[in-house]
């Protein structure tokens, strides 16, 4: 069990986080660049000292700013940190790199090394020097080195960002299976949602040093707690809803470009229409910008749409936020499912 309740001052804001990660659990800290995600990992690793905080790992106190004040140095924490740069020692062979953090009997280490190298697919490379490895191979060695050192917690600081998508996915899956096998708590930092979701079984959304929401990776995206969380997880358009008896004031519905379907489907969400202003390919989909009456909405559709035509589409079950930015209950569901969402008509 890894528990961290820490506070540290950065230039523009204070990073505050209270996290608990169970053995074998995979937590992803997701947030924009500069949100303080890496700082949290560095505090747990002992590289940054919190202004106030308590960090416990498997019952051991790693950092405590309360009496008795405790700061265990990084080399006695048994916390593994994996960064984007694999950080292999260039003067040591792959084998020596793998065994670098290994303490204990040689025979046991050798058999564990052989087994792990086979799992990681690097058993042919043990005599090579790091400079000869490809990026993916170097990351496999870095992961193996951490696992052989028997660390009690695994911290991953966007290790696979910048690798090509399939390689990144393969490596992430490898980490996930090895973390599960060894039952160590692990935290991944990511600024790409898909990367965080591929790894985590719990997602914490972080912005300007504050944890805004924690939950299951899917649930956080479907029900963001605030408008800011919605923006961070990819909602790009915010459509004002007409005032209704239950909701005076300016409530907005958040539209995720990937959560739209063409056509009028009032039973599934908010029906919108408007004029198509642009349509461009985005991967295998077409990204369409539509001017509705009150807002410009972007959606991705499987079919291209002609510009300057009217388009009717439905945003599936969009979250709604009040004027204070907090999530509010969606429009009251009436007996007739069709009236669940008011239809917002733009200039057509």
């Amino acid at each position: 069990m890894l528990e961290a309740d820490v506070e540290v001052d950065r230039r523009d804001f204070t990073v505050r986080a209270a996290l608990t990660v169970a053995p074998g659990e995979r937590l992803a800290l997701f947030g924009p660049s500069g949100a303080g995600k890496t700082t949290i990992l560095e505090m747990i690793a002992g590289l940054v000292r919190p202004r106030r905080g308590l960090i416990l790992l498997g019952g051991r106190v790693l950092t405590s700013t309360d009496r008795p004040v405790t700061v265990i140095p990084p080399w006695r924490r048994r916390v593994g940190l994996l960064r984007q740069d694999p950080g292999l020692f260039p003067h040591l062979s792959v084998r020596a790199n793998l065994l670098y953090g290994r303490q204990g009997s040689d025979a046991e280490a050798a058999s564990e090394l052989t087994e792990l190298a086979r799992v990681l697919g690097i058993d042919e490379l043990l005599r090579s020097m790091p400079a000869r490895l490809s990026g993916g191979q170097a990351h496999r060695v870095a992961l193996g080195r951490l696992l052989l050192s028997h660390c009690d917690a695994l911290l991953l600081d966007e290790p696979y960002t910048g690798l090509d998508a399939s390689l990144s996915r393969t490596l992430t899956d490898l980490v996930v299976s090895l973390v599960a096998e060894r039952a160590v708590p692990s935290i991944l930092v990511a600024h790409e949602l898909a990367e965080a979701q591929a790894f985590a079984d719990r997602l914490a959304v972080l912005d300007s040093g504050e944890v805004l929401q924690t939950g299951e990776p899917g649930a956080v995206v479907l029900s963001p707690a605030t408008r800011r969380v919605a923006e961070l997880v990819g909602y790009t358009s915010f459509v004002p809803l007409p005032a209704s008896p239950g909701q005076p004031g300016a409530a907005v519905a958040a539209i995720h470009p990937d959560r739209v379907v063409a056509g009028r489907r009032p039973e599934r969400g908010l029906v919108l229409d408007g004029m198509v202003t642009s349509c461009r390919p985005a991967g295998a989909l077409w990204e369409v910008t539509v001017m509705t009456g009150a807002a410009t909405v972007t959606g991705r559709f499987p079919e291209p749409v002609a510009s300057r035509r009217e388009l009717v589409f439905t945003a599936i079950d969009p979250p709604v936020f009040g004027s204070d930015g907090a999530s509010v209950a969606r429009q009251p569901v009436s007996a007739d499912r069709d009236t669940r969402w008011v239809r917002w008509t733009g200039v057509g």
């Binding site: 590289l47 080399w75 048994r78 960064r83 020692f89 670098y100 953090g101 349509c279 002609a306």
Partner: protein
């Protein structure tokens, strides 16, 4: 598919239009290239010229007569011994300073650096003069030394002191550069893998800085071997190799001094050359 208003079409680049490089005529490019090679060759030959001159002006006969005189090798032995002691002092005292400078752990780092640079910028002759005022027999340090039955004028100790002053900045600045080249994140990684700072230094920092450290050590060895300016003032006796060349030149002339110059080169150069070859190989191994 409908044309989108945001799509812009970039016109194709004109034929052969490489950015920046483009329209230099072939002839001019050759002229440029040959000019560069000629210039490089001239400076290379000019720099090596003295060595070539030395080798062409030596004869076996003069080498034999110069080196067979009684006590001819004493200055050589003295130089090697004092050079070794100098290197030991530099490694012991200079390495921590170089490391602290590289990692910026000292308060007012520029001041410390300026101190090291001062010894580099002062002419050795001036250093020698000033050393007399610092460690001479009538100074506090001189008194202290004589209390220990030591003296820093015209002794082995004086020779080492002069050599240290002449070679220290080369070692410290070279070692600083070598340590600066070590990625602190690798040291951090080693620490996270369980190594306390000393072991990180031994297992990661030093091996990674080794090529640069070897070069710095080799250069300061060559400097110490050739130290003359400060030595001639505070350590005229016992006679080290450079001084022997000087006195031989004064007393019996150029031809009999040349063999000692050869000896000096033979002693001073192998270590730097070996260090150069070794560090080049170590670097290329790491680059893969």
């Amino acid at each position: 598919m409908a044309a989108s208003p945001t799509v812009t079409v970039t016109p194709p680049a004109p034929e052969g239009g490489r950015p920046g490089g483009a329209a230099v005529p072939r002839g001019l490019r050759y002229a440029n290239r040959s000019l560069a090679i000629t210039g490089t060759a001239i400076i290379w030959v000019a720099l090596l010229g003295p060595v070539i001159a030395l080798l062409t002006h030596l004869s076996w006969h003069s080498i034999k007569t110069s080196l067979s005189s009684p006590g001819a090798f004493e200055p050589l032995i003295l130089s090697v011994e004092s050079g070794a002691v100098t290197l030991g002092v530099l490694v012991l005292l200079g390495t921590p300073l170089a490391w602290a400078l590289a990692r910026g752990t000292l308060p007012f780092p520029r001041v410390w650096e300026a101190g090291v640079l001062a010894t580099l910028l002062l002419p050795p002759l001036v250093i020698g003069l000033l050393l007399v005022f610092m460690v001479g027999p009538f100074t506090p340090i001189g008194h202290l030394l004589s209390g220990l039955n030591l003296s820093a004028t015209d002794t082995f100790l004086a020779l080492v002191i002069a050599q240290v002053y002449e070679s220290a900045p080369y070692y410290i600045l070279g070692a600083q550069a070598a340590f600066s080249g070590v990625d602190p994140r690798l040291e951090q990684q080693a620490a996270l893998l369980g190594d306390p700072p000393r072991r990180v230094f031994r297992r990661v920092t030093v091996p990674l800085a080794a090529p640069g450290l070897a070069m710095a050590l080799a250069i300061s060895w060559a400097r110490a071997m050739g130290a003359f300016g400060a030595v001639v003032i505070i350590a005229y006796h016992p006679t080290a190799l450079p001084l022997q060349i000087w006195t031989t030149l004064q007393e019996t002339g150029l031809p009999s001094a040349l063999p000692f110059a050869l000896v000096l080169l033979v002693v001073a150069l192998p270590l730097p050359l070996a260090a150069y070859i070794w560090s080049a190989r170590a670097r290329s191994r790491r680059r893969g």
